[in-house]
Every structure is written in C-alpha cells, then in structure tokens.
Amino acid sequence: MSAHRKIEVLGPGCSRCKEALRVVQHVVDQGRLDIEVIKDESIERMMALGLMATPGVAIDGKLVVSGRIPKAEEVRTLLGIA
C-alpha cells in the first residue's frame, strides 16, 4: 500500500461542514479506503491552508475544496480513485 494518506474536513461545525464530512466519510467507508479522515475545527489550520470559506476539504495537506459541500463523485476524483 502507498504512504499514509489523509483527508481533512475543515469547518467550525456548522451544518454545511457536517454535511461535507458526511460525504467524505461516505466515500472512504464505501470504498473501504485506507485513508484517515480528520475533522479539524481549528481556525489555525484553516488559515494555514489559506481557507476563507467553510467548509473546506484538504487531501494530503493540499486544499482542494473551499466554501462548498463536495459531491461524492468529486471526492473520488480528487482522491484519484474514480
């Protein structure tokens, strides 16, 4: 298996952030992926990634979604497993 991968969902816990987390978790669970899902509510992390609109999603430390809830298919594509 490849190196340890992680996918972060960033947001202060509003309903849209929970929805984004639900989509990401769904993709990982459904595909039985060996990827760590992290929910980060800290502003420091958001700023470090340069995120100004929540929810955000970062894959392996790189911001890929900002200010919206991604679709499952999109998350698979971003993970490179579509």
Partner: protein, 351 residues
C-alpha cells in the same frame, strides 16, 4: 441526521442542446403559470371549494393559494440566478481586489462584494482573518461582513413579491448604505487595537488556485444553491404565508395601527431590540409582516425588525468574539443598529 442517506447520483454535465431547450421550455411554462396565478387562486377558492365571495375563510384561502406558488417560483428563479452570478465571485477574489484599498471607495466595493460573494456566517472568522491579514482595512472588512448577511436574495425576493419593486429597491439601497457607512465609521474610529492580537500574527496560506469555470459548471452551482437555499427555507415561507393568510382573513383592519403604526415613535427601536436575539431568516418573517402591514403596522418598523433579525444576530457575535474584543463588537452592534434605526424612521416618514 444520523446514518447515511443514499448517495445522491452525481449530476452529469452534458452540454447537449436538448438540455438547454428543455430548460427554456420549463422557464416559459412556469412564467405562464406565474402570470395566471390570480385566476388560478380565485378558481380554486370560488369554483373548486365553492366558498362564499368575500368571506373570511375565502379571503384567507385565496391569499394562500395565490402567494405560495408566486413566492416559491420567484424564489427559485432568483436563487438560481444569484447562484450562477456568485460562481463568478469568491472570498479570495474579493480579498485580492480589496487589499490595500482606500477608505470609502473600498467600503463601497466591499459592500457590493458582500452581496455577490458566496458567504455563510459560519465562515465569518476565517474570512475576517484572511481579509485583515492580507491588508484589507478593518473598516472595509466590516462593510463586507455587514452587507453579506444583511442584503440577501431571499429577503429581496420576498419584498419584491409581497411589496413591489420600490420597497425591494429601497431595501437594497439602504442595506448597502448601512454597510458602507457603518464600515466607514468603524474604520475612522481606528479600532485595530481591539482585534485580538493573535489574529495579526497569523500567516495565511496561499489557498487554492482557481481555475476558470465553464457555463455548465456555473449552472450546476446555480442548481446547487436552489437545492440548498430553497430546500431550507420553503417550509418557513409556506408557514409564514399560512399565518399571513390567517391574519389577512381574520384580524380586523387597523388593529395594529395603535402600537405598530408610524405615529408610534418608540416602535422602531423596540423592533430593533426585539430583532437582535432572534436568529431567523427573512423568509419566515416577511409574509407575516406583510399581512400585519395590511392591518396598520408601519413598513419602516417592520423592515427595521427584519434587518435587525438578519444583520445583528447573537450567534454571529459569539462567533466573532473569537477575533474581536468586546469593545469592537459593541461598536459594531451600535453602529449597525443606528443605521437600521435611521432606515426604519426614514421608511416610516416617506412611505
């Protein structure tokens, strides 16, 4: 909200002509329905339900059957259009254009961007930090943060649908004016020292490169905002109109004039005070307000109440407390509340 709902099938982006044709056909059909709503409503009330002409129940039912589809159709159309429009904007783009701006022209630009940029109040803190650390002046940042929730498309549609375009235009104009003036005043007061010190030390990351979007993607975004916004507020709208319909049919005209009328000077400040702890959307409140107005309440008072509910929300202040010291929050509330008061009195005076 537990468990996983079945995964929504992802929208297939096709650029075929048939799709556009079907969409255009749907728009035309809906516009036809929209233009015939008055006839449909009276048909349902008097021919289908055979209610007595002019009876209270008939008035209430006719109002409901007319207003619900009218407002929902308008809402869907406008939210879609705004969703497409917003795909041209992003907080990063707004920041880029606002950084280092001078006061006033910066305030004006920020207020306009506040309307056009997709924003949810839970993003207020990262957006605030992102703006001020990139050199957007504090007052300009506030103009953005005030106009984003205050001038919202749902309120605009409801005002247009229920009160006509003049009131909608006044709301848009005064909402922008409050955001510009309040931000400018906050900028003049030089309150930078009342931002929590750790904010200035943050190093913002570069964010995400933004690629150009195709029209198909913009349409998808428009549809997504319809699903998200209309899906969230439609029930409030229906309940609001139902209550409004009840008031329309049953509350005698003039009943409210005595304590919500324009001659009652304290009505506007009380309305603003009542609005602060309430955290709701304009959708549920406006239809009720409209019915109240028909019974003698003053429009300025009603609008001040609505603006206070959506622009001065307690939860947002609690969120902003993370980055702002109490004195800056108090100033923010005071300045915005003053602006709303002026608007309330102004509306009562001119309308």
């Amino acid at each position: 909200m537990t468990g996983l709902a079945p995964a929504v099938p992802d929208t297939v982006i096709e650029s075929g002509r048939f799709r556009w044709l079907a969409a255009a056909g749907a728009v035309v059909a809906l516009a036809l329905v929209y233009s015939q709503l008055q006839h449909i409503a009276s048909f349902v009330t008097y021919d289908l339900l055979r209610l007595e002409t002019g009876s209270r129940l008939a008035l209430a039912i006719e109002f409901f059957v007319y207003e619900v589809p009218k407002v929902l159709l308008l809402l869907t159309g406008v939210v879609f259009a705004v969703g497409v429009l917003r795909s041209f904007f992003s907080p990063a783009r707004a920041r880029h254009l606002l950084a280092g701006r001078r006061e006033f022209s910066g305030n004006m630009l920020a207020a306009v961007f506040g309307i056009a940029t997709p924003f949810c109040s839970c993003s207020a803190v990262p957006l605030f930090i992102g703006f001020v650390t990139a050199g957007v002046p504090l007052g300009v940042t506030f103009s953005f943060l005030i106009s984003a929730p205050m001038v919202n498309e749902v309120a605009l549609v409801l005002l247009f649908g229920l009160f006509g375009w003049k009131v909608a235009a006044l709301y848009l104009g005064t909402g922008l004016a409050i955001a510009i003036a309040a931000g400018w005043v906050i900028g003049r007061l030089r309150l930078e020292a009342h931002v929590e010190p750790w904010v200035w030390k943050i190093q913002s990351g570069e964010g995400m490169p933004e690629g150009a979007k195709s029209w198909a993607e913009r349409v998808v975004e428009g549809r997504a905002s319809v699903r998200e916004i209309v899906g969230k507020v439609w029930l409030y709208v229906v309940i609001g109109i139902a209550v409004g319909a009840g008031i329309h049919g049953y509350v005698p005209t003039g009943l409210l004039a005595s304590f919500m009328g324009r001659d009652v000077w304290w009505a506007v400040p009380v309305a603003v005070l009542l609005g602060v702890p309430m955290y709701s959307n304009a959708a549920g409140i406006l239809p009720i307000v409209q019915a109240l107005l028909g019974k003698g309440a003053a429009l300025g008072t009603a609008l001040a109440f609505m603006m206070s509910v959506i622009a001065l929300s307690l939860p947002e202040m609690i969120i902003l407390r993370k980055v702002l010291r109490p004195r800056l929050i108090a100033t923010f509330v005071l300045v915005v509340a003053t602006g709303i008061l002026i608007v309330g009195y102004l509306f009562n005076a001119v309308l």
